[in-house]
Symmetry: C2
């Protein structure tokens, strides 16, 4: 019933989606310690989130706790992994094989969370034909052809800021439906395209500022 699934997907608030991976991480850790049951109180205490928030967040996931013992840890891990999309493989193209782009190609850890980068693209001709961590790099001119063949839906954007909007326009026009934007540039896309901004450098600025406040 795609109609229902659509509604369910839309209904999950972003703060919930951001907290669920914390619960998953904690549940995985407890599972590795052979803790077979987990209560929302226990999760709440260890993650420093209110127990009512934990219970509410977990109500979106297809899992029911048992009276007195709580959630089955293994079931919680399995259900959360699936709910968050980490068990499915989502193929992606990466655009901009500079320093951060190359670093992400090296991060095979992404696959554990459902993202498989199948190719990188760059405007530099000398990169075309090379591989990083076994992933082939192509010239950006080949993107349209490869997109037609593969129907990849996700683009990881790691180009220089000057090219962020231009590359974003290009890839959206050719079939990319979601952009994981690592550039500090705020790209504009049509309404039906998903943008996830992950500005790791903006996080650095927050950390520097807080650290500075401690030391002055």
């Amino acid at each position: 019933m795609p109609q229902i699934e659509k509604n369910v997907s839309i209904a999950v608030p972003e703060p919930t989606l951001r907290r669920l991976p914390w619960y998953l991480a904690y549940a995985k850790m407890q599972l590795s310690r052979n803790e077979m049951y987990l209560s929302s109180t226990q999760i709440a205490k260890n993650i420093a989130v209110d127990a009512s928030v934990v219970a509410k967040d977990l109500s979106y996931v297809n899992i029911a706790g048992k009276t007195r013992v709580g959630y089955d840890t293994r079931e919680l891990v399995t259900e959360l992994d699936a709910f968050l999309g980490f068990t499915k493989t989502h193929k992606a193209f990466l655009f901009g094989v500079g320093r951060l782009g190359a670093a992400l190609l090296h991060d095979s850890g992404l696959q554990q969370f459902g993202l498989e980068i199948v190719a990188g693209f760059d405007a530099k001709y000398e990169l075309a034909g090379t591989r990083i961590n076994h992933i082939p790099i192509h010239h950006i001119d080949r993107f349209a052809d490869l997109e037609k063949q593969t129907q990849v839906k996700i683009g990881v954007l790691t180009v220089p800021i000057e090219s962020a909007q231009e590359v974003s326009d290009l890839i959206v026009a050719t079939g990319i439906q979601a952009i994981w934007n690592f550039t500090p540039f705020r790209i504009r896309v049509p309404d039906n395209v998903v943008v996830q901004n992950t500005s790791i450098y903006a996080h650095l600025a927050v950390m520097f500022n807080r650290l500075n406040a401690i030391n002055n």
Copy 2:
């Protein structure tokens, strides 16, 4: 006057600190296009943030716009870069040279934003003595000694979730004052320690969910 600087640092709200790098990115791009002046309206329009928000955010930074022409683009870039801490070099140690850790060691781009990872630490003896991107990797047992010599204040945490709390306790006890936490685990630290959570996998979950909503 450290007292005043302290208050200033504390007073900058996190949302502002997260938006300022967007303005910086935009200003850098405009500078590369030889646009010598920028108005807050122009920044606002291009970044899809309210003009009053842009003006308020920039009021924290030591820069004044000129009537009619706006901000001097070059000055804006210089001041924002300095204000955000990107022009100073902050030395850091990285803990956990797994896939994500190794990827971050490969990301020389971090240096442009003021973060220099000077060494990596891992519990695996076979990694000790190796280098990634010229950065030396040591066994975690050597951390206390090297910390005493170097007084590094920032720790980048990329260990497996099972070790996140333990390693965090260890490094905080030995002098680390700020932790850039890439693990999905919510570490607990004393009040005087800064934690910046950057859960790139949590962002993936949000993106998958939104993409799924489009396609159903």
